[in-house]
Structures are given as C-alpha cells and as structure tokens.
Amino acid sequence: MKNQESHNANDTFLAQWLAGEISDAELKTLVSETDYKSFLKLRKGLDVYDELESSTELSFVKIQEKITRKKGKVRSLNANTWLMGIAASVVLFFGLFSILGNDIVTIETNFGEQKTIALLDGSEVIMNSKSTLTYDEDKWKQNRTLNLEGEAYFKVKKGSAFTVVTKNGEVQVLGTQFNVITVSDFFEVVCFEGKVSVKSNNESFVLLPTNSVRRINGNAIEKWEVSSTNPSWIEGESNFKSVPIRYVISALESQYNIQIHADAIDDNLIFTGSFTHKNLNTALKTVFKSLQIQYFEKEKGNIYLGLK
C-alpha cells in the first residue's frame, strides 16, 4: 500500500471512512489506486449485502395493495385438488349452512382488512374487516347463492336471482348494489341501486335505492333512508345511525384488532356517528368522547371503558 508507512500510526482510517467521517477523496490519498478501487467495491458490496438480506415484508404489503387495487379475482381450485384432498363430506358451518362437495370457496378478511372479490358472473363483492364469505363454485351457474358473516357490499350483475344467506335472514336481488351487515344478532341491509328483497323472521321487505332495513337482537324491523351512494366504509369510515354502542364496539374491534372491555358501561347506549379506519386514537375519540365515556389502554390492544 502506498503511504502505508506514514499511516501506520493511524490504524483506524478505514473505519472512519466507512462511517463517512473521511471522504472518498481523502481515502484516495491514503491508499494505492488498486486498493482504493477495491475498497469502493467492498463498501458497495456491504451496502448491497445489507439490502439483499433486509426484510421483504414491505414489498409484500405493496403486493397486497396492488392486488387489492386490481380487484383480485377468486379463481377455481385446481381440478385435481379433490384427488389430494380429504374425501368430501357434509360440513356444517357455524351450525347453519350445510355445504356439500369440494368446491366451496371461502374468503375471509382479517382485522382491519378489506377485500374486493370478482365473482365468476362478473359480480363484485367488497368485504369489510373480519368477514367470511362462502359459496359453492360448482353450483354457482345455476344458483347464485352466497353465505355471509360480517359485512359486505355487493355489486350484482344482471342475471338469475342472487341470494345472500345470513343467519339473520336472506337478501335476494336480480342486479343491483347493496350492503349487508350481519354480525351476531345485528342485521342491516342498505340498497344503493336496483331492487332488493329481504326476508328475515318470516317477514319480507322490498327495498328501493336509498331504502334500508335493520333488525337488532330479534326486535322488530326498523326502516329508514340513507343519503349516500356508497357504504361509507368503502371510503375508510364506518357510519352508524342510532345503533346500540355494543355493535359499534364490535365494529371497532374488527377494524383495529383490539379488545374493548365494556363491563363498566351500559352497552345499550345509542350511538349516531362515524369512525375512521385510519387512526385508532381518532376513532376512539370520536365514538367515546361524544358519549362521555372514558377509555384507556391498559395493556397493548386492550381498551377499558368507564364512565366519567
């Protein structure tokens, strides 16, 4: 190395150079031309080495975003899947839906997740967080029937009857856009386009655009009008109109993957308003401040409610 003699005293300059305390130009004066080139390549190799080893998680998030934006399609299972699979059997799902055969498609969304699904007939379903949708692909052509638990917005292509079965009732249409919520004993249908028929507890209703019906806890059906043209949750907000707070709480829980402990408050309090899907703190503030309920995060993801 050129200059090695004179720099024996300084046996840390490479460390300083790598940390950026010594410039490349300075290094060039300290070592030979070939050494200089080697060190530059070494440094670049080290930088890249880190990057090649770094996590690929972020890219996966981007992939998911791109897929969602492209409205990922649900496709058939491989034709020979059943050969590998366990013999078909009658399966009871939530003790309610009898499903026969091997081509049951199940789509689930996780906490805070939304999925857009293109069905085989060109219809589209947008699922809100913590929802499950199942349908029989084999029978789809003859019978457009889906099972839903949770919340979803349907844009149905014209064709034969399209039925959404829930444990709170059935929703049937020909070609339209509507939103269904069926979370435990909370059931709500809003029609945005076309004509929707709803059957629940032996009662039937026909909804026209902006009409909505709701049944809470087996009580009588309530009807009202909405003014929006899309369910608000598609724009990243959940909206409620005179809803017992416990349903708002469970919507918050599914959206943010948190536990809300509401033992200390009356969970029949009525809430009207909305919360954002973007920021938990803002969401908690908008819901609970208006009802004068105090909340605090005792442990991570555990929120306790109390009265002022």
Binding site: D11, T12, F13, L14, A15, Q16, L18, A19, D24, T34, D35, K37, S38, F39, L40, K41, L42, K44, G45, L46, V48, Y49, D50, E51, L52, E53, T56, S59, F60, K62, I63, K66, I67, K70, G72, K73, V74, R75, S76, L77, N78, T81, M84, G85, I86, S89, V91, L92, F93, F94, G95, N102, T106
Partner: protein, 179 residues
C-alpha cells in the same frame, strides 16, 4: 364443527396458490432469492424490488393455472422475462437519453459491478473474520450501530472499535483481492 371445517379447508388449500396463506408462504420462501437473482441482473436494488413485486402479482393472477410444485420455476421464469422486458424498455430510453446527455463515467461508484461470485465471497469472508472483528463488524453493518454505541455495548473504547473495523476491512480487502 367449526374446527373440523377449518381443518379440511386447510389441507385442501395448502397446495392451492389462490389461498392467501399458501401464497404468502411461497412469498416467504422465495422472495429473498428472487430479489437477489434479479439484483445480479439489474445491479439495482430498487429495480429488483419492483420486479419482485410484479413477479408475485403475476403468480397471484395465475394462481389457478400454476401447479404448486411448479411455482418456483414459474417465479424464476417470470422474474427473468420481466427483467428482459425492462432491459428492452431501458435500451429505448437510454438511446434517447444518450443523444442529450454526456457519456457515463465508468469510474464513478454507481457503475461498480457486483457479481454473484463477489457477493458470495464477501459473505464467506465476513463469516470467517476473527471473532472480535466479526462482532464489531456485524453490529455496525447489520444492526446499524454507531461505533460509539458498540463501544458502550462491549465496554471498550471507541478507538478499539475503530481499530477492529479497520482490521476487518483490511482482511476483507486482502481476501477478496483486486477488483
């Protein structure tokens, strides 16, 4: 009943790429290798990331057609083709740019080629560094700790940390040879 149901779905869907869990596990298995594979072609980590993403989106788009056992070769083929397409595109762009901009300076650090062999040798050499140098080296390069922080962690002087780094770099330089 719920439990039985989900078990059956699992075993049936385990090898179905359209199932998001399967898709994700394929990603976990191959993402780094594909990114590396493309990096050696592009020499550009950002481009490698882009191609990685496009490749897996293609797999998702074709999830019903690609057999689970063929997923790996599908991924490599798509990655490779996507790379070739970007080269084609880049050539057109470059041709256009060259008419305006001056010649590239091959001396500048941006144009240092990092070959697969070089990177492998580098990794082997890092792993074979003397224990004390290696410790400091990895804390600095992988954990991104500053010399001062390392000094505090190991209860030695900053000067001692720098000495070890300096020696480690000399070892690497020697083992890797001229470039």
């Amino acid at each position: 009943m719920e439990c039985i149901f989900s078990k059956q779905i699992m075993s049936k869907d385990q090898h179905n790429i359209c199932h998001s869990k399967t898709f994700e596990s394929l990603y976990q298995t191959y993402a780094k290798d594909i990114r590396r594979f493309i990096f050696y072609k592009t020499q550009d980590i950002d481009k490698a990331e882009d191609i990685l993403q496009d490749t897996f989106i293609k797999l998702w788009d074709n999830c019903g057609k690609v057999h689970y056992d063929k997923a790996k070769s599908f991924l490599y083929t798509v990655a490779s083709n996507t790379f070739l397409n970007t080269v084609k595109h880049d050539k057109v762009v470059k041709k256009h740019q060259q008419s305006i901009s001056s010649q590239h300076n091959n001396e500048s650090p941006e144009f240092i080629m990092l070959e697969k062999e070089f990177m492998e040798k580098l990794e082997r050499t890092i792993n074979s560094l003397p224990e004390k140098q290696k410790e400091v080296f990895l804390l600095n390069r992988i954990e991104k700790k500053k010399y001062k922080e390392i000094a505090e962690m190991l209860d030695i002087s900053v000067k001692a940390v720098e000495k070890r780094m300096h020696s480690a770099l000399l070892v690497l330089r020697e083992k890797i040879g001229n470039v």
